[in-house]
Subunit: 333 residues, 2 copies
């Protein structure tokens, strides 16, 4: 294990200490660093909360900030935060307009967010939930509710965050978050494993010339392991699966996220995007918003994922709206 | 070699194709994709150009954009671009106010930028040069002119870019760039090698429990190779060298850049920053501006560098000014 760390047990808390030291626009409540909220709340706005395991930066907490989210409950590495932590975040960010939970489709997170919502309900706080399930490799068509949430949740955060910043109601923000969720598909490919600090060795083994398409961001098995192919062929295979689920017409517009899983250089992500762009071009589809970089990682895992959001006019406006968090900034074009 | 690529010979050109497809605010001149310029020039402004080898994204071309640079000549992986490419960029970005070259202290780059400056001079374009040499591990005190330029050049780009955006003269922008250069120190540590695509194997070998302090961003030898120590000890050793060269008084202010070399997760960078922040705090020094992430990489190399810019009032203003490039955005606080 080659990591910069002290005691592996302190990994998350020391990381959080570093984050609060670096970014005074973030703070925490309930005397618990894992209950992160924005230090700059906007009065009267619908609150947006997320939560999930650590080890995926910028996911999840990195999207707390202007035009995005208001709070995040922070779990251990690849572990759900507790219902109490989610509830504390909820209480703090509610401004009377209600709170939307947006998180990934993992059992522990669902159980805890459900419990937090019940606790909030007893306080008279209205909570709705949108559960990201964009990973098309994790279950078949027709069983979308079994799919995991991965990098595409970024688009749900972005659209819902902009909607809340516009002052829309809880119902409207929830509708928009759900629409962004339903119109997003992601597929990933892994080239190497990550190492959980407290475990200290690779989560899985993969040969020096192998790739695994569909691997999850915690190392969940994918759909095919084979010899690493040229970049264009890898993208062709991945995008074929995306196109099978999203029916585009000529002149349709999409947002594209080429996400590095942690260990893959940006140069390679751009080589991957080049092919995505070519394939969209052949179909007459315009990549209206493009982000390339690390948005949802699995620590040092080498690999990438492609997320495609099928835009409509409303989502185009919201995805393009300004945002500013310590990990993500977007100026209005 | 586990990389997403097609023919290794096409690595740079396909990467650039991806960049131009993703970011319409960037374009190129002389029908050469390696002569990158901003598509949104600002009339009358002093032009800022950089250049250098590929494989360091976001360095160098990633800083072309509003409030930063106007053009970048793009070399092969770890290779200097040509004098002609630098000259073409220069001609295009000069608006009559002159051009400042800001690049790293590497022999090939110096020879080619010198030649480009001579060609520009024949055209009546005034060119000044500021050569980044922030890497304190690459030569001793008193021999600073032999030091390599690494991640700290980001601060020179930022300060000079803001100065040019304010409409300052060539002499003033040059003075400010040089001041930022002189007040910046960087030290790095590597945990693993990078792989140059056309070579296909690790540039150097390093044991599974070793680190090398002072390693360069092309794999140049550092100053000590030893057993990987706890994160705090690594930072203590690195910062001791920084503090030996920068004399701080109580209440002094600095900008801090914790830069990942490519393969190191953001979580670990924050653990490193935590210790940097503690050490600065002990000295009464305030980290006024903090950036943590990947700013100057060596492809997939695991490792990090710490850059410290000793601020004064002028640099504080310029470092904090807004900027917006495809790879770096900063809102005014």
């Amino acid at each position: 294990m080659k990591k910069f760390l002290n005691d592996p047990e302190d990994f998350v808390d020391e990381m959080l200490d570093g984050i609060y030291r670096a970014h005074p626009q973030l703070t925490y409540v309930a005397e618990d660093r894992r209950c992160m909220v924005t230090a700059k709340p906007r009065t009267g706005k619908v609150g947006l909360a997320t939560g999930g395991g650590s080890g995926h930066l910028p996911l999840f907490l990195g999207y707390v900030g202007e035009g995005m989210l208001d709070g995040a409950a922070v779990g251990g590495v690849f572990q759900s935060p507790s219902a109490e932590q989610m509830y504390e975040v909820t209480k703090h960010i509610d401004q009377g307009a209600g709170v939307v939970y947006i998180y990934g489709n993992y059992t522990g997170d669902i159980i805890n967010f459900d419990m937090a919502a019940e606790l909030a309900d007893l306080d008279g706080i209205k909570v709705t939930q949108v559960v990201g399930n964009d990973d098309i490799a994790s279950s078949i068509v027709g069983e979308e509710h079994k799919r995991r949430g991965v990098a595409g949740i970024f688009f749900v955060f972005k659209a819902a965050g902009a909607a809340a910043a516009e002052g829309l109601s809880l119902d409207e923000v929830t509708r928009i978050a759900d629409k962004a969720r339903l119109r997003t598909r992601t597929i990933g490919v892994a080239l190497s494993s990550c190492v959980v600090p407290e475990i200290g060795h690779a989560t899985f083994s993969i040969g020096p010339d192998e790739m695994e398409i569909g691997m999850g961001i915690h190392g969940e098995p994918g759909i095919s392991r084979k010899k690493l192919a040229p970049a264009d062929s890898v993208i062709d295979e991945m995008m074929e699966r995306v196109f099978a689920e999203q029916s585009f017409s000529d002149r349709d517009e999409v947002a594209v996220l080429v996400n590095g899983l942690g260990g893959t250089p940006k140069e390679e992500l751009y080589i991957l995007f080049r092919r995505v762009s070519q394939l969209l071009g052949v179909r007459g589809v315009q990549a209206k918003h493009v982000w390339i970089g690390e948005f949802a990682t699995a620590m040092e895992m080498a690999g990438a994922s492609i997320s495609i959001l099928h835009l409509d006019e409303e989502l185009d406006r919201l995805i393009g709206a300004p945002a500013n968090t310590p990990f993500f900034s977007h100026y209005k074009a």
